[in-house]
């Protein structure tokens, strides 16, 4: 009964979404206040219905109601409660439910918090949001019904993919989807702005909290996914340029570009058209990211051809959202107000360069991801595009961006002076030169690429520090005055500084862990030991046992290091008998500056076990850096300038008396 209520609420939500899409749009074009005002309650109602439906679905998972097909296929009575809850979004149907929940949540938030928006803009934005909700709900109900029943009811379920039974992955999708779906708001705003023919600084300011929070969510989501890959897959790698990873990286790249170009609109009233285009494309990439992964077309053309219903539906949906947006853009963008001019060397100019490189980087990732698909379709030749391609193209494209990232914030708006900016950055320049020199002293054979990477990382980090010191008036006034100014720098400045510093930390982590990683792969017997990165690993032996829903083989390894207390690590392998699959659970000892990473491999059946041991210097900085970047976003979000100058709602009578223009 409950399940049917959930199903019914979902269908109802779809109908509400349709009303939310059509009525306010019509209302805005005939300038009917009453019709436009329908958008807010509709958005709230749609969210309420989807939330109810989601709650019912989650309840079915928690109580293991195997009469629901989705629960049967993705759960098991012996599964720990945490994963019964997070298993809700572990399947295709469940993740679509999470997606639409987020989508309607954002719509509801705009309806609830967007009181200060002009009515026509708010109604149109919510209408577009309703349209997106309608499309997704139709997709769910028509092709991926989570409430499908099963009869006769099976005694037990098939269990969730064991790789997903992991805390890192359990919370990865909500963050990622928060990010993807957050960009739906910027999309809806952009479309509404195109319909109205106006962008402007005020509108950019309204959109900023949405795009910033979406970006933060996406950043955290990607970092979590990468961290998960690092500790679960057992090679010590953290990014594989896998299509599935790229799918989440593409909207991130465009979203980053969008944040920066929206800042130009907000501060200088320039780049309006480009920002609107980016908003459309960023959400387009989010859709491609989620849905193409879901359709299976990325993994194999053949799996797509076997069950094309979902895939075709998805392609049509994406084509409508992106194509419709671009069509409207082509028709209306020429009518948008022209931006204020600026010199090539200016803060705007640096941000344009950043946008160019991020967009070109995104296009490169897109091409690398989809090229094998295109090539197979038009020539029949199966082709591989591996990490080598991305390292050879994407990395050099983004490197000048890192150089510019430090210079840009030091340049003046409109017209800057490069020489003066570089003079101000002299300390960073010296550091970027000294650091690799120092590395060379200790390591004569250091590869040039690694040295360049070190220089870049130091440049990014020191550049931020130099700029902060400069903005506080360091060395130009007494120290206490500097300190006071330093503490009272605007939050927006702190946000930028934290995020950019995070990028430097991230680069340091990538470069050092890639260039100076050590690896030992040996067959170990009880009592054997091996040396890695100045540590002695003594293999004590392997014990076996049964825990919850899996069987475990656990190795005991004592790590000794001169001058430190010995510690014991337990890398394991787990066998999930219901799901019939095996996972590795690596043992990682970290001190923040490097990870000792152990993974247990196969046994030869004669007491010998393959042990993979890595020492990954600075690898934790990759995730520190990403988290710092996200924190920077949050700090920026808290800047009170964002909330200032929001006009107080006017008396309704006064509003009603005026004509509502479009």
């Amino acid at each position: 009964m409950l399940v049917e209520i959930g199903h019914f609420a979902l269908v109802l939500a779809m109908l509400v979404a349709l009303v939310q899409a059509v009525v306010p749009l019509a209302g805005a074009s005939v300038r009917s206040r009453a019709l436009m005002d329908l958008a807010r309650p509709a958005a709230l109602l749609q969210f309420g219905l989807v939330a109810l439906s989601f709650a019912v679905f989650m309840h079915a998972h928690i109580i293991s109601d195997f009469s629901v097909r989705n629960v049967f296929e993705n759960s098991h009575t012996a599964k720990p409660m945490l994963y019964k809850v997070t298993g809700v979004w572990g399947s295709h149907e469940g993740s679509m439910m999470l997606w639409v929940l987020m989508l309607t949540l954002f719509g509801g938030l705009v309806a609830g918090l967007g009181r200060s928006l002009p009515t026509s803009l708010r109604s149109r934005t919510l209408a577009i949001q309703g349209l997106l909700g309608f499309g997704t709900l139709l997709f769910i109900i028509a092709t991926s019904n989570p409430f499908d029943r099963l009869f006769p009811v099976p005694a037990d379920g098939r269990d969730l993919n064991p790789l997903l039974q992991d805390p890192g992955l359990a919370f990865h999708p909500p963050f990622l989807y928060f990010g993807y779906v957050g960009f739906s708001i910027t999309y809806s705003f952009a479309i509404a702005a195109l319909i109205e023919g106006r962008v402007g600084a005020q509108r950019a300011r309204w959109v900023r909290p949405w795009s910033l929070s979406a970006w933060c969510g996406l950043t955290v989501g990607i970092a979590m996914g990468s961290w998960w890959a690092y500790y679960v897959l057992g090679w010590g790698g953290w990014w594989y340029w896998d299509p599935v990873e790229n799918a989440s990286f593409m909207p991130w790249l465009l979203g980053t570009a969008l944040l920066h170009s929206a800042a130009v609109v907000e501060k200088r009233e320039a780049l309006q058209r480009w920002t609107v285009l980016l908003a459309i494309l960023t959400f387009g990439m989010s859709l491609i990211g989620t849905f193409l992964v879901r359709s299976g077309v990325l993994t194999s053309v053949h799996s797509f051809a076997v069950d094309p219903t979902r895939g075709v539906f998805i392609l049509v949906l994406i084509a409508l959202v992106i194509g419709g947006g671009l069509l409207l853009y082509a028709l209306r963008a020429p009518g948008l107000e022209a931006g204020n001019p600026f010199a090539p060397v200016s803060r705007e100019g640096a941000l344009v360069l950043n946008n160019l490189l991020l967009s070109a980087g995104m296009a490169t990732v897109f091409l690398g991801t989809f090229y094998p698909l295109f090539a197979e379709v038009w020539s029949g030749v199966k082709l591989s595009v591996g990490p080598q391609f991305f390292n050879a193209t994407f990395v050099p494209i983004l490197m000048p961006g890192v150089v510019a990232m430090v210079i840009g914030p030091v340049l003046a708006w409109r017209r800057g002076h490069l020489a003066a900016a570089l003079r101000r950055l002299a300390p960073a320049f010296v550091g970027a030169f000294l650091a690799p020199t120092l590395v060379l002293v200790f390591n004569r054979t250091a590869p040039p690429a690694a040295l360049a990477g070190v220089a870049l990382a130091v440049w990014a980090m020191l550049g931020v520090v130099t700029d902060l010191a400069d903005r506080s008036g360091f060395a130009r006034q007494p120290l206490h005055a500097t300190w006071r100014r330093f503490r009272h720098l605007p939050r927006g400045t702190w946000g930028y500084a934290t995020a950019h510093f995070g990028v430097g930390v991230l680069i340091a982590g990538i470069v050092v862990s890639t260039a100076w990683r050590s690896e030992r792969i040996e067959t170990m017997h009880a009592g054997d030991s091996l040396e890695i990165a100045g540590r002695t690993l003594r293999f004590v032996g392997v014990t076996e046992g049964d825990v919850a829903n899996y069987h475990v083989e656990r190795a005991q390894i004592v790590v000794e290091r001169p001058g430190a207390a010995p510690m014991t690590l337990y890398p394991e392998r787990r066998w999930y008998s219901v799901a019939r699959s095996q996972t590795t659970n690596t043992a990682i000892a970290t001190n923040g500056f490097g990870d000792l990473y152990l993974a247990l491999g196969d046994t030869d059946g004669k007491g010998g076990w393959v042990l993979r041991a890595y020492y990954n210097p600075l690898v934790p900085w990759i995730w520190f850096g990403a988290i710092l970047a996200a924190v920077g976003g949050l700090v920026s979000l808290s800047d009170r300038r964002l909330r200032l100058r929001v006009p107080a709602p006017r008396a309704p009578a006064a509003v009603a008396a005026r004509p509502v223009d479009s």
Partner: protein
Amino acid sequence: MVLRLLIAAVLLVPIAVSSVHAVEPSERLADPALEARARALSKELRCLVCQNQSIDESNADLAHDLRQLLRQRLVAGDTDQQVLDYLTARYGVFVLLDPPFEPLTWILWLTPPVLVIGGGGLLLLRARRRRPDPAVPDLTGDESVRAALLLDEPR
């Protein structure tokens, strides 16, 4: 038996194989220089039956066979390029993770530099046409927000 878990069907993470053995100690060559070349090469070769892994990372039987095959070729005196050519002849260009520059991949390899150079050039041209007039001070963001509020709302 290989357990290929189609993570792609589930979430945004790479494909995982069940257990870690990949390069096995027993496969290793005695000559460290040759072994280093073998490792480098095996990172460039795709495990044909896996989702998206090099033979260096895969524990599939085929990957094991390919690792042994390439070591045999190296011991027999092949250069790196000869090994790659040999494997390409047997398995097609699909086996190469680093796509070679040939007519089929021209678009793939040339698009990124064309985008950066072409895009940069266009932007520079545009910037030259629309220089700010130093005599005319324009509004700051805050000023234009205030102006917009005066002109704009309520709508």
